[in-house]
Amino acid sequence: MSAPTRKFSTAGSPQLPPTTSVTEVMLEVLLALVPGIGAYVFFFGPAILVQMALAIAAALIFEVIALRLRGRDIGRFVLDFSAVLTAVLYVLCLPPLMPWWGAIVGMFFAIIVAKHLYGGLGHNVFNPAMVAYVVMIIAFPRQATDWTPPTALAHPALSFSAQWIRIFTGNLPVGLQWDAVSQATALDTIKTLSGKLYTLEEIRRNPVFSGLSAYGWYWIAAAYLLGGVWLAGRRIIPWQIPAAMLGSTLLITTPFNWMDPSIHPSPLFHIFSGGMMLGAFFIATDPVTGASTPRGRVVFAFGVAVLTLVIRRWGGYPDGVAFAVLLMNLSVPLIDRFTVPRVYGHRDPP
């Protein structure tokens, strides 16, 4: 008798589109890594980009294989860029002249083993990039620790074509030995030489050191800091994690450094060397493998900082970020259980 009735589809509230998506989050994290990658290429040359291309290709291929084997929808999961991010973070932890199979083996362990064997996106217990790095460090320690100096310090310096040949064939230009071309990192130098009872002032005269930590490396760390602060400002990563991790590092290393500066490096050195900055903003903030309560993530970040410093000082490896992260990944269910927040209107947490 009046207007005709019109039908509509229904769904549960809320009825507005979400403000972001997994793909957007991953892409923004990759964007935040661009300053760091740029600084890396500036100081060490473009070899790292070759590694990145290898790792990304391997990661995507393994992801497709795993999804097909598991019978999952390929387009949705490949386009979420999480595999690309894993590949980039993995490559940034390893030497730029690592052999080509390093990226392949690493991505196999990252994507197939650490991610898909544990259930795929959102279900993995361990950080895939860190699992891959640890596999390389333990199974292929020589190839995974064969660092080269920044191009400005390198005598002789390798050209890009020479680097390319080194990555894919393992050969160096005629007449050059690997010992002449490689150089230990700052942390590695400290570990080796303090084992021989040199003091820090003596160790620091080594040309690999410069400025806040090592030549080139502190600029790269500063670039990670820049990208990380932008990410935190955009609310992609919670600011509490890097703040807790870097803050704990400062808190712990300051008294040690004050007590005996000839053995314990300064707090700023710790923060700007090795994987500490990358770990604070990009690795410890991995959402899937981190804690899932507000206080829990602070505990997690604190734990990563403590374990990293312990391994650096007393452990067998020069840098401990990867092991620290994996050990804290193990502790996440326990942390979550004990840090449940209080709910509105209740007196005690559940």
Binding site: S9, P14, T19, V22, P341
Partner: protein, 511 residues
């Protein structure tokens, strides 16, 4: 009078674009009289109203046609004069999608009122009289919860809060009411405060539009009530207008879990309810119409309207120029907590503060649902301090008891978590499911307990009867085993005589 900014805040929440300007360019408009009005008997929380009319009966505008059943129930009045067509099940806006009993009224077009008794001095009446008159006027909470107001006024409180913080996007009915009828709101607040015996009265309004603040301030000054009522500005952050969040922002206190604001001496009422209460008492106008915002990208000419309850939504939409080609979803209420309706043949009810028609780009998203990546965006925005992520994992695994331990029943279903989730998981659907599944399992548990209790009682009774029978048989055996004596013979003779006496009437009848 200084307008103060509330200093408290609630955790989490989401800042959302308001989108209210879409409909607030004009004034509150009225609509032509609809031909037929459908009035569901249950438009409020609590028991449905009981119909007082028969099909074919003539009613006047404002006449009581259904009375409240019990304390928590509300009356229903005829929004216009006409003839009762029938009382039958009709589609009503509710999540189950089922029909409900409704009074169907055919309007006669004359809009004739019943006799009215305005009260020029309502503040001089005793409180109990106020409560009874509000009950008879069918006033219920117009903020969306539609709790019968007279039942809310049963306990006296220290502070009355009038909630003008309309936090959901698109809805603008409270804002328009404040801009045009601030005096009614303020006098309604005074009336309710007098009824409650409250010492303080606060009107809270969001700070994003200066005109609303100015309208209330001016009305307070004009009426001379600026010393009696405090005006507070609250931040425009969803879900600021939620009762628990508003109380937390204004006072810093939290309403106890499973409790009510009255437990901490507060009461919260919507500005629309205050205005309706004023009109009911001062002018003897029962609640049969309300301001409704009709808006969204699917409506050709959005606006705010004074709508008679029972008006079919499709007529409301037609009065706004109809649907645009993008119209994809019809929602009663706001985009965050509203109810999606399967068709537009539903009537406007007391709870309907907004008719929102959304477009395809609003409701369909480019990115499909992904697994939860444990990013904690939902945890950071939950205003109740819950762990939406953990609740989701437990509900998915059917561990509902664990979800209950993590306080899923304290979820206010505001939708903040689903709004920020990068994996596009419909989180609130999971919590709604969990709450109703837990309620079902509780009910099944209660019935099982009752059945067990009955069984135990029956077993005990049967046992007792068995024991009594055994005891009786033992006594008889004991008696029979003793040798006969003279007394025994007399007993036997008496027993034989009794049996004969019982048998006699039968033999008499046979003869």
């Amino acid at each position: 009078m200084i307008i103060q900014r509330a200093r408290g805040r609630f955790p989490g929440g989401v800042v959302m674009p308001h989108r209210k300007r879409l409909s607030t360019h004009g004034k509150i408009e009225s609509l032509p009289l609809p031909a037929q009005l459908i009035l569901p008997l249950s438009q409020h929380l609590g028991a449905p109203a009981k119909s007082l009319v028969e099909p074919g009966q003539q009613v006047c505008k404002g006449e009581l046609i259904a009375m409240p059943q019990g304390q928590i129930s509300a009356a229903i009045h005829a929004p216009t004069s006409g003839v009762i067509h029938n009382i039958e099940p009709r589609p009503v806006p509710q999540p189950s999608g089922q029909n409900a009993m409704s009074i169907v009224l055919d309007a006669d077009g004359h809009d004739r009122w019943r006799p009215r008794n305005p009260d020029p001095h309502p503040l001089e009446q005793p409180a109990s009289r106020m409560v009874e008159r509000l009950r008879r006027a069918g006033v219920a909470g117009l903020g969306g919860a539609v709790f019968p107001t007279h039942a809310k006024l049963a306990r006296s409180v220290e502070t009355l809060i009038i909630n003008g913080a309309e936090c959901e996007p698109y809805i603008a009915c409270d804002e328009m009411l404040i801009l045009e009828r601030a005096a009614e709101i303020i006098w309604g607040a005074m009336l309710l405060r007098h009824t409650l015996g409250a010492r303080r009265c606060i009107i809270a309004v969001e700070d994003h539009r200066a005109e609303t603040r100015k309208a209330l301030h001016q009305a307070l000054l004009d009426s001379g009530l600026d010393e009696c009522i405090d005006l507070r500005l609250v931040p425009s952050r969803y879900p600021e207008g939620g009762e628990r969040q508003l109380i937390q922002v204004l006072t810093g206190w939290e309403v106890p879990a499973q409790g009510l604001p009255q437990d901490i001496g507060l009461l919260c009422l919507n500005v629309g309810t205050a205005a309706a209460a004023w009109r009911a008492i001062r002018y003897d106008e029962p609640l049969f119409s309300r301001v409704v915002t009709v808006t969204g990208p699917g409506i050709r000419r959005p606006g705010n309207f004074q709508v008679l309850l029972g008006t079919p939504i499709k007529e409301l939409v037609a009065a706004c120029g109809g649907y645009t080609p993008q119209a994809t979803r019809l929602v009663m209420g706001g985009p965050m907590m509203g109810l999606a309706l399967p068709h537009d043949d539903h009537p406007v009810v007391k709870a309907c503060n907004c008719v929102l028609v959304l477009s395809r780009s609003d409701v369909e998203t480019m990115f499909p649902e992904m697994p939860c990546i444990r990013c904690m965006a939902c945890v950071d925005c939950c205003p109740a301090g819950l762990l939406p992520q953990q609740l989701f994992w437990h509900i998915q695994a059917d561990k509902l008891q664990r979800a209950r331990m993590l306080a899923v029943e304290d979820c206010i279903e505001c939708g903040c978590c689903a709004q920020v989730c990068p994996s596009h998981i419909p989180l609130v659907d999971y919590y709604r499911y969990a709450k109703s599944a837990l309620a079902q399992r509780d009910e099944a548990g209660r019935r099982a307990d009752a059945a067990r209790h009955r069984f135990e009682q029956r077993s005990a009774r049967v046992n007792r009867a068995e024991q009594a029978r055994t005891a009786r048989l033992q006594r008889r055996d004991a008696l029979l085993s003793t040798p006969s004596s003279g007394d025994r013979k007399a007993e036997i003779a008496a027993a034989v005589a009794r049996v004969r006496a019982q048998r006699k009437p039968v033999t008499d009848e046979k003869q």
